[in-house]
């Protein structure tokens, strides 16, 4: 029992540990990628309760910085199929249970 409890604790700990942003798939150039990643982290932390606001913030900032039409989806469970402009896609995890997909397509 003690062992199981320890394991669970370890698991919880590890889960908690893995809250750093992890890029799952990215098509962007490094500079853009880093900026987008930081932006996503900021947005998610700011609007932790409201995915829509976070997504709105991300999309609008990206539009201003990198132009034309960006799309952002934040959530914990969904499937998607998108068409994106080459070198303008970012798919990352954050916070242990949040997935953000960000792409540009005018």
């Amino acid at each position: 029992m003690a062992e199981v409890a320890e394991e669970k604790k370890a698991d919880a700990d590890s889960k908690r540990v893995h809250t750093y942003p992890l890029i799952r798939h990215s098509d962007m150039i490094d500079e853009m990628k880093n900026e987008a990643m930081e932006l996503c982290v900021t947005a998610c932390e700011k609007f932790a309760a409201n995915n829509e606001s976070a997504a709105k913030m991300i999309k609008e900032t990206m539009d201003k910085k990198f132009g034309a039409s960006w799309h952002a989806v934040i959530g914990e469970g969904y499937g998607f199929e998108i068409t994106h402009e080459v070198k303008n896609l970012l798919y990352m995890f954050f916070g242990g249970n949040m997935a953000i997909i960000l792409w540009k397509c005018s």
């Binding site: 540990v17 469970g77 080459v86 896609l89 798919y91 949040m98």
Partner: protein, 642 residues
Amino acid sequence: ELKVEYTRILTANNPHAPQNIVRYSFKERQYKQIPSVDQLAIHFMIDGNLLHKESEEAKKQFARMGITEIQEEEKREPSERGDEADEGAQEADTKEEGEEGETKGTTRKGRKKEKKLTNQFNFSERAAQTYNNPFRDRGTVTEPPPRATFAANVTQWEIYDAYQEDFEKQEKSKEKKVTSSRKDEGKARKKFVATEPGSDDISRMEASVKIVERMVNQNTYDDIAQDFKYWEDISDDFRDQEGTLLPLWKFTFEKAKKLAVTSLCWNPKYTDLFAVSCGSYDFMKQGSGLIILWTLKNPSYPECYFETDSGVMCLDIHHQHPHWICAGYYDGSVALFSVLDKRDEPVHRSTPKNGKHTDPVWQVRWQKDDADNNKNFYSISSDGRICLWTILKNELIFQDVIRLSLPDMTAEGPDGIKVPTTGCGTTFDFHQHKDYLFLVGTEEGKVHICSKAYTSHFIDTIDAHTMAVYKVCWNKFHPKIFITCSADWTVKIWEMTDKMDKHVAGSNRKPLFSFDLNNSVGDVAWAPYSSTVFAAVTSDGKAFVYDLNVNKYEPLCEQMVAQKKKTKLTHVEFNPSSPTVIVGDDRGSVVDLKLSPNLRKMKAEKKGAPPVDEATKIQREIEKLDRILLMVREQPTEITTN
């Protein structure tokens, strides 16, 4: 009369005008006097070209000049009539200049200026129009930015798995961080920049440059290479007892020009490679030395060479490990070189504390690895010692094997004590089968048969020559025959007998064969392919090849090999695989000569017989020699056994 006054009345009447003019009037049908006579007298008349502005003609002109005056005239009308007369006068004044516009302009300054009336006689208009490029319409459609689709499923477990994976990766990378990052860098470097660490461009090309160099050499010496392989002296068919030596390549090295070739050795593994040691035989002129490695593939420049401070008198290449070369110096030390090592110095060198000889080392020879698998070699020197050198754990350790003492001659020491003198060894040779047995040649002309087991006691001694023995060599096939050459102009072939009577052995031994070569014989060598063929070189630049099978008394070939006169030939060696010999001279050059067919006769096999193997070949050679010896051997007065 002067005071009479006359009255004249000035009237406006023209004095010249007629006072009564009568004209016929048709009405009254009579001449009637015209009441008033015209009093006008015209003094000057000229037709003017002024037109009234509003006259038809003027209007026409204006129209021609393109001035629309209608509007302006309408406005000006009220004021114009009053000014007309003035304007007319002014116009007359300014007629030449044509400044009508100006006068009008001065009255109405606010108006737009009218076009100038140009001087119709002397006015040329100048205008220039630059070339306006024609306009074109162009249209294009840009490609839309490329698009790609992406699809995935977001689920909690997927997120979790991704984090776990990443975590593990991080752990691994932390462990191997240092080495892996270095490796990656190295790989990356290799990918993008194909250079070895810390070397410049030239060394990258080393291998290819070497190949090209050899190719160039092959091309240059192409005919020689062809000869080397294929040329057979056809005239040998006609000359039964004669052969020739065809000179092939000549190997000269700039630095070796002042030195004499002191030893030659073929590499046992790579049959085109041979080592040459260069030093000086002259006692007075001692300088530096060289060990040069040549390859037949490149006769222009040595493969590798080592410079030494003292002349190198001998060298030997290890059989199993052909990169080990042991060498003996004039100053008495021995050294061990490794060709694989890139440095110029010997790997080991004996020092005075370390058993260095006190006189020049004349010969060194590798032995089989001893019981502990240590490499070892023997050296012989004029100080009368034969030493065994062992390489133990990167050190050179020596062991005196034999002291050559001259029992007969003793010298007087300082106090009258008799000091045994040591003989000077000049050459030795080990038996190919019986490891422990070896021959030693000395400067006094004696040949000792020794064994490794006995340190001071010889098995046998032969008074072989009257002068120093330069080479002693066992026959490659026959276990009991050996050959010696000496400064006393002779080459002698001996047989070693088993049961010795020491008494007899000393002075009565006679050689089986003896050849006089007319000059000091520098070196003699048995041929590897036949038990009856040997070659010798002399100080007058000649090379001799004998075949006992063919002619027991005369050489099959006596040929001048050296290029210049007064060049002494110092050494000769047969190539173990191809029918060539290398001959070294005292000018530091080595010549490679091909033996003509007559010189390399081997026993012809019977047609249809199965191919001969090594042992049988050797046996046959031995038999061949034996047959010859039978004829020569003395009838047994001594105890001899076959």
